[in-house]
């Protein structure tokens, strides 16, 4: 089992619904977020290209945050989901420094928090909150090892890219282009 997400940049409108849905689902305090939107604009008027995409932890196969965690609080759970175990986290912030995607933040309660792929929902057979809410249905989630999962199916016929591949982290959020 290897969970992953594919996000269609041709459909994402940058509405931030994924952000607020994550906040209310996961009790993320106001002022913090586990996912966010990036907008890139290239070219000069009127020949310009705009890309909008929803970003979060890349649930990397080669995760620097897991390697550098002194207590083992940062770890890989079932299906390749990268998590931090609250009770074991001492809030040192080494993982925050090591993540090339700036996906982690220190929760006001002192531990480091990040996207969990909504493990609590996925375990129950539900989609992550951000995927379930997205009005453009531009996010596909599932098991890469299952050829019939939404994510496997869409990646079969679409081109995609990952963010900061040069960092060698083997990220598992794929952007359909």
């Amino acid at each position: 089992m290897r969970y992953a997400m594919a996000i269609d940049t041709n459909k994402c409108v940058g509405c931030t619904d994924c952000v607020v849905a994550c906040q209310t689902e996961n009790n993320v305090p106001i002022g913090y977020c586990r996912d966010w939107i990036t907008e890139t604009v290239d070219g000069t008027y009127p020949n310009i290209e705009i890309e909008l995409r929803s970003e979060r932890c890349n649930h990397c196969d080669n995760a620097p945050c897991v390697r550098c965690c002194p207590t083992g609080a940062s770890q890989v759970a079932d299906g390749g989901i990268v998590i931090t175990v609250e009770d074991e986290c001492i809030g040192c912030g080494a993982c925050i420094e090591s993540c090339p995607y700036e996906a982690r933040y220190t929760h006001p309660d002192g531990y480091v928090d990040k996207c969990t792929f909504c493990l609590h929902r996925v375990k129950e057979g539900e989609l992550p909150a951000c995927v379930a809410v997205c009005p453009t249905k531009c996010m596909y989630f599932g098991d890469l090892e299952d050829p019939n999962s939404d994510v496997s199916k869409v990646m079969k016929f679409r081109k995609y890219k990952t963010l900061a591949p040069e960092a060698g982290t083997d990220p598992h959020i794929f952007y359909l282009i």
Binding site: K11, C15, D17, V20, A21, I48, I50, A132, P135, T136
Partner: protein
Amino acid sequence: MSTNRRQFIKISALGTGGVAMAASAYGFAGSFLSVFDSSDEKKSINMKRYPTYCEVCFWKCAAWTHVNEAGEIVKIIGNDDDPHCNGRLCPRGTGGIGMYNDEDRLKTPLIRVKAEDGGEDTFREASWEEALDLVAAKMKDIGDYYGPESFALLKHGSSGKHFEHLFKSYGSDTIGEPAYAQCRGPREAAFATTFGSWVGSPEPTDIRDTKCLVLIGSHIGENMHNSQIQEVSDAIDKDVTIITVDPRASTVASKSKYWLPIKPATDIALLLAWMHVIIYDKLYDEAYVKKYTHGFEELKKHVANYTPEWAYGITTLEPAQIRKTAVEMANAAPAVIVHPGRHVTWYGDDTQRERAIAILNGLLGSWGKRGGFYLKEKIKVPKYPHPPYPHPQWSWENLGEKYPLAQMGVTNELVNASIPELAGEHEIKAWFVSGTNVTKSIPNKKVLEKAMDAIEFMVVCDTMPMDVTGYADVVLPECTYLERYDGIRSATNREPSIALRMPAAPPKYDSKPSWWMAKEIGERLGLGDYFDFDKYEDVIDWQLQKMGSSLEEMQRIGVKKFPRTSGPMYFEDGEDFEFATNTGKIELFSTELDELGFDPMPVYTPHPEPEEGYYRLNYGRAPMHTFSRTANNPNLNDLMDENVIWINPKVAKNWSIKSGQEIYLKNQDGIVSSFPIKVRVTERIRWDSVYMVHGFGHKNEKLSRAHGRGANDTELISNVKIDPLMGGTGMRGNFVTFLTDNPNLVES
């Protein structure tokens, strides 16, 4: 300014706390509801869910409010069965919880205390008893002295409906909502004139099956009209051709096969050129035009000289591009939508621009066709019995008389009628404002303030201390949509459906639902017969029973669909159809406008352009905000806490302005923005215009997050071009320049 009677005051309280009415009166029924379906236990984790429909914008998506064991509202999730949202709320709906949690909410009724000798007026807290007594007494006095017609209602949304019933029972139909003359009125007038049918809401655009979607300045995706953006996304999956006409590289422009970066204010020229190509290159649907339309030959003659080359000089769009996009539309026809848009009060000739849009759809044969406009249907909710309304001597119709196509109250005329020098035969003496922050929805602030200064009494009912509350004599704190019952939602769609709204928690603070306020005021006025129920759920249950459902059923399912009864969604091939126009046909040539002495077919008239150093002020929406009501919502404010002004890099360079820098804006009439606004230097905007998101720059300090953040576009809109056909306020003829220093410091 400070000599005004109705000077703007901050909501700050003097005096004593309010007294609550008996708790049972507003009908919170939290205890008897079932938890989640037992088959679906995993989701429940001891949460209860209550049906509602969203009131953050006007789309009214049905949803489930989730409440935890402690009785706290934790999240709102779309109802899977609802055609407005298909189980997915937009960011504003998801963040609607912030409306409930906002600690800046209006908490108790407030009554204005007049200042002694030139000081500042203040508010004092009041009990409901006292506040409602006062409102009823004033309604009685004004009714007795001037006639109830002199008391106007300015409203929006679900709460407005309850006060509309109160006002009609009282004898006033002097009612208006900015949603008409400040927003979608022109398109309704134009489509009614052409097709004999309003566009309505949600728009009957069959986007999910369209092959070509044409957007004239409509920024779907930044406006989050929920099912509509969902369908655009479905259509993208099916490789739709999107043609976006916008001076700004909007989000949807970036998803379009063709983006036409038109010179602002020249859309009609493009639309006429498209008609020219479609007619003279024989791209129109000949059979459809022959069968269903009136005035093709007149139109053909009318557009003979409106070539793409002619339009090029006006729009700056390449003739080849105009031709190519016309061919794209024709190739897709009838599965093509030239979208009417929604906020369309731009330049004062908006009904005519919308007519041009309607005519194009007629030529392409998209009305009544799959992938074009479907034939919408809704189910009628039976009227709860009440005595007939009295007949007012005059109403909004008289005030809007000079606009022959006005189908609803023209708010700006209601404003004028409130100013003795501007009023005609009929004068308005008092306002009741419900759910609309008129200082940010009605332009020309000077006139608006004059009106608010002139009237004798003003009530504002809202959930938040919006700027408009500062002008009120009485402020009535309404509970949010998550804390109340409201009218059954029934809207036009592919198939009829209804949705229930019920409270998920009791009203916070001393806020109350508006149905309760309307009833209480009505009873004080001796109009108890019009409010013959104890709790609003009794009304709803009565109505639902008549419709073959019940309150109990709707509390369980939230949304119920009904089969169509008006026939199929699309015309059959060659089907006879009578349009509700003079000729029974789609009027390419409008006999109605001709009779009224207006252009029966749209013409292009040039609009003023900015002088050197000034830029056209364009405004629009951001996906996480709506109206001016969300700026202080803690969840939505977190996503975007201020607006910025978009400036083209070339312009910014000339001015040595950088991204992030704060500037003030000054318009052509010398009006300076109350607050500075941050600059966003971006290639996404033309050099002749600037852009900002509407709804920021709040003045009320009680809005702790929104106060002073960003600029208010509406206060910079002082040049208003009135649409002679329906009274709409064209707001895009305003030009701004930049002040890089704080003007307040410079002057002092």
